[in-house]
């Protein structure tokens, strides 16, 4: 099969002030090429941990992740070239400008500034950053604008797998809608596979071809949104969540 991602029985524990936190307790799933796959779960359910394991920033205790048939652990460098990521936190050098940040971000992927400059400017324009702000420190940008720059950064390296870790959390409704439609546009244009984590059910329904629900480090339901709703005879994904977990998603937050 043509899988972009294969996650097989991944487990990950953390030690925090003497206590053991079981962040992932045996997670398996697959994402097909070209899919927008949604990972839904409350805060602390293990979404970001999974994303970090895929981005080579964490090593699993056991299990295996393959990205386009390359083992994340054994073929780290190949995998790194195929992926990029947008996280909840903007994660920029806040005193540097959008251009300075993106020049660095492209540079460490091996693109000389001479070559990437045009693309950077075009990308920033495309995501709707006014030209007059290109050289402003990012600390003066709104959260929404920072997140747009983060999306630019991620797509500038032309990843074939994009990891979007709650890209719209904390944005105001307008910025949220903009970022969501941007994700759709950019996907169409770049022909990438997307893994999107969120705890926004509406967003998942709007964007994702297929979703899974993660709770306490375990996947508890998976399927196409329409089918899932049928299966649980629910009107919305929120109701599906309520059926599966027994509480509303807002009330299911785990110790953060």
């Amino acid at each position: 099969m043509n899988y972009a991602v294969k996650v097989h029985d991944i487990k990950k524990n953390f030690k925090k002030s003497g206590k053991i936190i079981k962040a992932l307790k045996g997670v398996s799933f697959e994402i097909e090429r070209g899919e927008i796959y949604g990972l839904l779960g409350p805060n602390g359910s293990g979404k970001s941990t999974l994303i970090r394991l895929m981005s080579t920033l964490l090593y699993p205790d056991c299990g295996k992740i393959e990205i386009f048939d390359h083992d994340v652990l054994k073929e780290e460098k190949i995998v790194k070239r195929m992926i990029n990521r947008v996280s909840v936190e903007a994660s920029f050098f806040m005193k540097l400008s959008a251009i300075e940040n993106l020049r660095y971000a492209c540079g460490i992927y091996g693109f000389p500034f001479g070559k990437s400059k045009e693309r950077i400017l075009r990308m920033l324009e495309q995501v709707g950053i006014p030209k007059s702000r290109f050289n402003d420190p990012l600390e003066n940008f709104s959260r929404g604008m920072q997140q747009k720059v983060a999306i630019s950064r991620a797509f500038l390296t032309s990843p074939i797998l994009m990891l979007l870790d709650e890209p719209t959390t904390g944005l105001d409704p307008k910025a949220k809608r903009e970022v969501q439609s941007m994700v759709k546009d950019v996907v169409r244009e770049h022909d990438a596979t997307i893994l999107l984590t969120t705890h926004d059910m509406e967003e998942a329904e709007k964007l994702c071809d297929r979703i899974s629900i993660i709770h306490h480090g375990k996947i508890v339901a998976e399927g196409i949104p329409v089918k899932l709703k049928e299966e649980y005879s629910a009107k919305t994904l929120e109701d599906v969540f309520l059926e599966v977990i027994g509480v509303k998603i807002e009330e299911a937050d785990e110790n953060e």
Binding site: F14, T49, R52, L57, S91, Y104, G107, G110
Partner: protein, 269 residues
């Protein structure tokens, strides 16, 4: 490594270097404060030298100490704090996610530190020298430059080993780096000959590349000695560089694996 990949690594290293200069530019107020502090410290040491009598020679002895120490400190701090800095900015995961090799990352950081440190030191010397009417007539330029280069290589290895501390201990790493730095300052004879220390401390000084750097520097600047005459300092220093650089890289890589197991790369703990 293919030519294309080598070129990619080159651009990546360059990007690290440029980004560091961008940060210097954008944090210029901090730079001014830091620079003023270094100048004040160097001038103070110059006057300590003057008050001891002995004229130009004693003053220079102290100023060489202050200048070299500020240079080596910059090398050490830039490297040792690179991880801590990026964790604080929140960019660390993006830097570590990139396909750039770790050696490229660190060499890029070293290159920045050397260029930045040299510029800073040169500028400082230009400001401080007239204040004491310093006379450099006896200095051997070439030999002094050789000392600087060899010392830089040696010290960046030290810096890399320091850099691993914030990697494996997000909370205490930076403090330990500073303790380590203070300790090197104490045993390396920055403002005095290491022979004045108790025997056991003097023995420790032989393990610090700074000791050799300072002794060699004083020979070339004060006595005009050439490269041949300071071989006994250059060789141990170069040897330490040859050992410390790959060792530093190895330890750093080990630290990276450790922190990826424990989940320490993340911003907070």
């Amino acid at each position: 490594m293919s030519e294309g990949n080598a070129l990619k690594e080159f651009y990546a290293g360059l990007a690290v270097m440029i980004r560091n200069f961008d940060l210097v530019k954008r944090y210029w107020k901090w730079e001014v404060v830091f620079f003023a502090y270094t100048i004040a410290n160097t001038v103070t040491m110059g006057f300590v030298g003057k008050s001891m009598g002995g004229g130009n020679r004693t003053i220079l002895y102290m100023i060489i100490g202050a200048t070299m120490w500020s240079y080596l400190s910059v090398l050490f701090e830039v490297l040792a704090e690179t991880v801590a800095w990026e964790r604080w900015e929140g960019t660390i995961e993006y830097t570590f996610m990139s396909p750039m090799k770790r050696i490229t990352h660190l060499v890029g950081t070293c290159s920045f530190a050397i260029v930045y440190g040299m510029l800073r030191t040169f500028l400082m010397f230009i400001i401080v020298a007239p204040l004491f009417g310093i006379n450099l007539a006896s200095m051997n330029m070439l030999a002094t430059l050789v000392v600087l280069i060899v010392a830089s290589i040696s010290f960046t290895g030290f810096g890399m080993m320091g850099a691993v501390l914030p990697l494996i201990s997000p909370e205490k790493g930076v403090q330990v780096v500073h303790i380590f730095q203070a300790f090197i300052l104490m045993v390396s004879g920055v403002y005095y000959s290491v022979s004045v220390m108790p025997k056991w401390m003097e023995t420790l000084s032989y393990f610090s590349p700074a000791t050799y750097a300072l002794e060699a520097m004083r020979e070339t600047v004060l006595n005009g000695e050439g490269v041949g005459a300071i071989m006994d300092k250059l060789v141990p220093m170069a040897l330490m560089g040859v050992i410390l650089l790959p060792l530093g890289l190895l330890i750093f890589k080990w630290g990276e694996i450790f922190s990826k197991r424990r989940g320490f790369l993340k911003r907070n703990g």
